[in-house]
């Protein structure tokens, strides 16, 4: 089955945007791709809430309550969920903080750093999502259908995955373009 103009939603959670940048690195092919898919809520468009979509894409690990919530919400509203990049697939570099309690990570960052002037020890908390005890990969919270590792995945790999989906297949990244960084 080929889909007619599938809708795509993507989100960038605990990560560096590098996977979305690698997506933009498909360069001229983006013009062609944008003719075949409909971008809905993504970091590069202005639609803010996920509609029902065929394909959901998550870049990034889950490190705070908002990110956890967004991962669950996107999972509910998409048919195929893709995890882009080492952070979404494995947790990535974010997991280096997991050796320390979240409270200590906050205190050291906002009080102890050398140029910080914070005599009252104010910690960010108001109107902000609280840190999860540990940063976790996406599939610790929701089911993932397609794994695309790499830091970031190469643009050609990202393009391959979309091409396969447009052909109606659930892609598995072949070993010759599969990369772990």
């Amino acid at each position: 089955m080929t889909m007619a103009k599938p809708k795509i939603a993507s989100v960038w959670l605990e990560a560096c945007a590098g996977c979305h940048m690698s997506f933009l690195d498909i360069d001229e092919r983006i013009v062609d791709l944008l003719g075949k898919v409909e971008l809905t809520a993504t970091p590069i468009t202005d639609i803010k809430t996920f509609p029902e979509v065929e394909v959901g894409v998550i870049e990034g690990a889950l490190g705070n309550e908002e990110e956890l919530h967004l991962a669950k919400e996107l999972r509910e509203r998409c048919k195929i969920l893709i995890a882009w990049g080492d952070c979404a697939v494995f947790g990535g570099i974010n997991c280096m903080r997991n050796f320390l309690p979240a409270g200590q990570v906050l205190k050291e960052g906002y009080v102890d750093t050398v140029s910080t002037v914070n005599p009252d020890g104010v910690l960010p908390r108001q109107d902000l999502p609280a840190l999860l005890p540990q940063a976790i990969p996406v599939d610790r919270a929701v089911k993932v259908d397609v794994y695309v590792p790499g830091c970031p995945p190469d643009a050609d790999t990202i393009y391959y995955v979309f091409s396969e989906i447009l052909e109606g297949r659930i892609p598995t990244v072949p070993t010759d373009i599969m990369r772990y960084d």
Binding site: W12, L13, E14, A15, C16, A17, G18, H20, M21, S22, L24, D25, D27, E28, I30, V31, L34, L39, P43, I44, T45, D46, I47, K48, T49, G60, G63, N64, G92, I93, N94, M96, R97, F99, L100, Q104, V105, L106, E108, G109, Y110, V111, T113, V114, S115, T116, V117, N118, V122, L123, P124, Q126, D127, L128, P129, A135, C151, P152, D154, D181
Partner: protein, 477 residues
């Protein structure tokens, strides 16, 4: 505290910016704007979890702060490591680092302007969100879209040539670089430049015409009279290695200091409602010592630009608003394009320098200094890496002041001003939200960087009543 809260509007997420953020607008009982805040909602903790790592790993770890300007972190980190080794780079290594840096300025500034900001200028702030994006750009202005894509690709290819990958390259190492530049690669880079310069000149015309036709908006839109901070070399605009200069709103040089002394001059303030700190100039305190960085900050802080065409553009830029110092926030876009022009001209200079084809790439050494500071201009502003190590080189303390943070106070003030202009009561038009977001977009924030996190930068607007209850959440749909 809760019962003193007023009506609040929240924009979440802020989109087409590079990071995670939301805006809240508190309203008084009669619906007037009371307080406006821009919150950065993500924190990852790089300074903390780097402890114990060998400092030589930092040029590979820290770029993961930001996939949009990973080269900035790569270079600032490598410079801090050079300082720990106590070495001075070979001319070839220093110039190859700068070549990669110019590639990054071209790609990152092109992304900011063509992919993220130009839709607002071309379609208008009140245009349908469904077309006001890069896809709409590709449909309605294919030539401009293709030019932007090509410019970004060119910068990314330079990064990949030297560092193996477009995002998170690996080229700089403590004491130098790990790969030389081949003559045919250099020739290819030079050959592509004339066409890109032509495209850039067209974009400059577009921005200049837009600002001339919308002079009233430009004068009013989130305009702030602030100090400006940026690197200079002999007074000229500098992106890779220079002294840190602070200029006052009236154009007086307030201070100029060596980058290793940053901590005596710059402090960071913490608010409990944002994960992004607020850097300030210590002698003036917070918030009076706040300043702006990035394209407008650098263009205002420098005396001149060392390359001819960019220098001429700078002179025109300064004349365009009268007295030399330009405080109009929309002029960030204009300043950004002048910097792309500089990056192209500087790249051309470097590529014609025989040193870039040299093979003397690295000076080796051991831990000589227990502390090292590395500062570069990232596309979004001054980026500071500061490491303290033990005798074997394990990180004991790390401190990072990232470009977007310097603009935090200005972004908050700018959003507040636009809210006061466009919001009266909880019935908020989408165009008003987009204008607030565009303030943020002018600064091209990389919020990932800012909190040493990256993030999505969606924006939500929440309106809260005087009891603190959310009476309306405005997200763009």
């Amino acid at each position: 505290m809760e019962n003193t809260k007023k009506n609040t509007i929240v924009v979440n997420p802020v989109t087409r910016i590079e990071g995670h953020g939301k805006i809240t607008v508190d309203l008084t009982d009669d619906g007037a704007v009371d307080r406006v805040r821009f919150h950065v909602t993500q924190y990852r903790g790089f300074e903390v979890f780097s402890k114990g790592r060998d400092f030589r790993e930092m040029p590979v770890i820290t770029p993961r702060i930001c996939g949009i300007c990973p080269v900035s972190h790569h270079l600032a980190s490598a410079k801090a490591c050079d300082a720990i080794l106590g070495v001075t780079l070979t001319p070839t290594a220093a110039k190859l680092r700068e070549v990669m840096h110019m590639g990054q300025f071209i790609q990152s500034h092109a992304l900011s302007f063509f992919h993220l900001s130009s839709p607002d200028l071309l379609f208008g702030f009140d245009a349908d969100p469904a077309i006001r994006n890069v896809a709409g750009l590709a449909r309605e202005y294919p030539d401009l879209a293709v030019a932007g894509i090509g410019m970004r690709k060119y910068g990314q290819e330079i990064i990949k040539t030297l560092g193996g990958k477009k995002v998170h390259p690996w080229h700089s190492i403590p004491g130098g670089v790990n790969r030389s530049l081949r003559a045919e690669e250099k020739d290819g880079m030079i050959a592509a430049l004339p066409k890109l310069k032509d495209d850039l000149r067209k974009a400059l015309d577009l921005v200049k015409n837009y600002l001339a036709e919308n002079a009233e908006l430009a004068a009013r839109f989130a305009t702030l009279e602030t100090s400006y901070l940026g690197l200079v070399k002999d007074g000229n605009l500098e992106l890779y290695d220079g002294r840190i200069r602070l200029k006052s709103p009236r154009g007086r040089i307030t201070d100029e200091f060596d980058d290793s002394e940053y901590c005596a001059h710059i402090g960071e303030h913490v608010e409990e409602w944002s994960y992004l700190k607020f850097p300030f100039y210590r002698p003036l305190g917070f918030p009076h010592g706040s300043y702006r960085v990035g394209p407008l900050g650098r263009i205002n802080a420098c005396d001149d630009i060392s390359t001819p065409e960019a220098s001429a553009e700078l002179a025109a830029f300064r004349k365009s608003t009268g007295d030399g110092m330009v405080h109009y926030t929309l002029y960030y876009h204009y300043a950004r394009l002048i910097e792309i022009l500089y990056a192209m001209e500087r790249l051309e200079e470097l590529l014609h320098d025989p040193d870039v084809l040299g093979s003397d790439l690295r000076i080796t050494g051991n831990v000589t200094n227990r502390e090292g500071v590395g500062v570069v201009e990232a596309p979004r502003g001054t980026l500071i890496h500061h490491y303290e190590v033990d005798g074997k080189g394990a990180i004991e303390r790390a401190n990072l002041i990232v470009a977007t943070g310097h603009n935090n106070y200005a972004m908050n003030r700018g959003v507040e001003q636009v809210a006061r202009d466009y919001i009266t009561g909880p019935d908020v038009k989408e165009g008003a939200l987009n204008r607030m977001e565009h303030v943020i977009r002018c600064y091209d924030p990389c919020l990932s960087c800012s909190t040493h996190a990256v993030g999505k930068m969606p924006l939500k607007l929440e309106v809260r009543n005087s009891l603190g209850d959310v009476v309306r959440t405005v997200t763009k749909e």
